[in-house]
């Protein structure tokens, strides 16, 4: 196989990095291609891609930024956006009862609803009429889901609304309570010119990887 001197460069939203690392390690072993992962928040990666970041592939934590990239077409966004995972929310902490969401004495950490889809989803959950009693709770916003997790684990919030990937054992929130949390990816360079990219894209869509993603706490894409 023609081993490219240049490694394949993959940009990945920070919260998916761990999972993608596993996936990529296996790909590197099997294919012999080199892949480097660059993580950051989705917003940062988006801005970087818009301004010439040398990435071949972009795994976002949301749908909007990828769709916007595709729409802008500012770069050679080849191919269409595709969903690689669908997230779901869980309630961590407390006694596991969803009724706690209406208790104003329990503090809560979520991801920033302005920047993180999981944060927006969490807000949608909290805004439900049945939890209106808890609207005076202390609500702490982490910059991203990881910080929301840290606030709950180390910083002393009682509860947290997190992606299931971060807290697999916590109480699931019904999917219908919020917008679907599809996570989209998009190729930024042409797979036809880069055999490594083509091979990697195939690998991502393989069943092995689907299982890996599912095991990591995500639901399959529709």
């Amino acid at each position: 196989q023609g081993l490219a001197a240049e490694p394949l460069r993959v940009a990945v939203a920070a919260n998916f990095r761990g999972t993608l690392q596993q996936i990529t390690d296996e790909f590197e072993q099997q294919s012999g291609y080199r892949v480097t992962l660059s993580s950051g928040s989705t917003g940062v990666l988006y801005a970087q891609i818009l301004h010439g970041a040398p990435f071949d592939l972009f795994f976002a934590a949301d749908a909007a930024s990828v769709q916007e990239l595709a729409a802008k077409g500012a770069r050679a966004t080849s191919g269409r956006p595709f969903c690689y995972a669908r997230g779901s929310l869980v309630l961590a902490g407390g006694n596991g009862d969803l009724a706690q969401l209406s208790d104003p004495t329990l503090s809560m950490s979520i991801a920033n609803p302005v920047t993180a889809p999981y944060g927006a989803a969490a807000m949608a959950v909290l805004a439900r009429r049945e939890f209106a009693a808890g609207s005076n709770r202390k609500l702490v916003r982490g910059a991203n889901v990881v910080q929301a997790l840290q606030f709950w684990r180390g910083g002393g919030t009682d509860l947290a609304l997190l992606p299931r990937a971060l807290a697999p054992d916590a109480t699931p929130i019904p999917q219908s309570w919020h917008q679907p949390l599809d996570q989209l990816a998009i190729a930024l360079t042409s797979p036809t010119a880069n055999p490594a990219l083509a091979s990697y894209l195939n690998w991502i869509r393989s069943d092995t990887v689907r299982t890996l993603i599912f095991d990591a706490g995500y639901k399959p894409c529709p």
Partner: protein, 226 residues
Amino acid sequence: MSAAELDAIQLTIALATITTALLLILGTPLAWWLSRKNASWPALVEALVAMPLILPPTVLGFYLLLLFAPDTALGVAWEKLTGTQLAFSFSALVIGSVIYSLPFVVQPLQAAFQRVPEDLLKVAATLGASPLDQFRSIVLPLTRRSFVTAASLGFAHTVGEFGVVLMIGGNIPGETRVLSVALYDYVESLQFAEAHRLAGGLVVFSLALLYLLYRRDRRHSWRVQA
């Protein structure tokens, strides 16, 4: 300008002002002590003061968060004393900012104090000035320029800091959501127009403020003679 932005601006000014005041109150005696000790172990204190510079803000914030949590000694003591939780409070922001910006205040002051001519302090002593009086009447005016530097570095850095603040503050609107965090939110959520507007305002305002400050300082300058 939105109400949320006004909130953030107000909070930022309060945080930076209180932090700068505390920095000067704590940093001045520390810098003085460091500048007058000739032993070598205070070098360890100097190195410790510089530590917050080395750690990336989020990492520093993470450790501070661990320190401030309600189940730590500090968290428990704070809750006993004030009845409120320390983590995610404005007080936590202040403490974090003070720790984070301490080197910016201590280092310039220490360097300045070290260059205050000992001879002038001796004269003041023979004229009946106690050490505190000497400090107030000789050292302070002679090092005014460095106080301006230290205070402006400390203030600016507190305004600009966001890693630590984000981590220990929890981005609570009206309580711990300061301007830098608001700005960060705009960039992260791809609202670039809003980001430009806020950043532009911040830059113009601080530029004007610093310009006036530095110009005033230049007017009152004097020179040491050998």
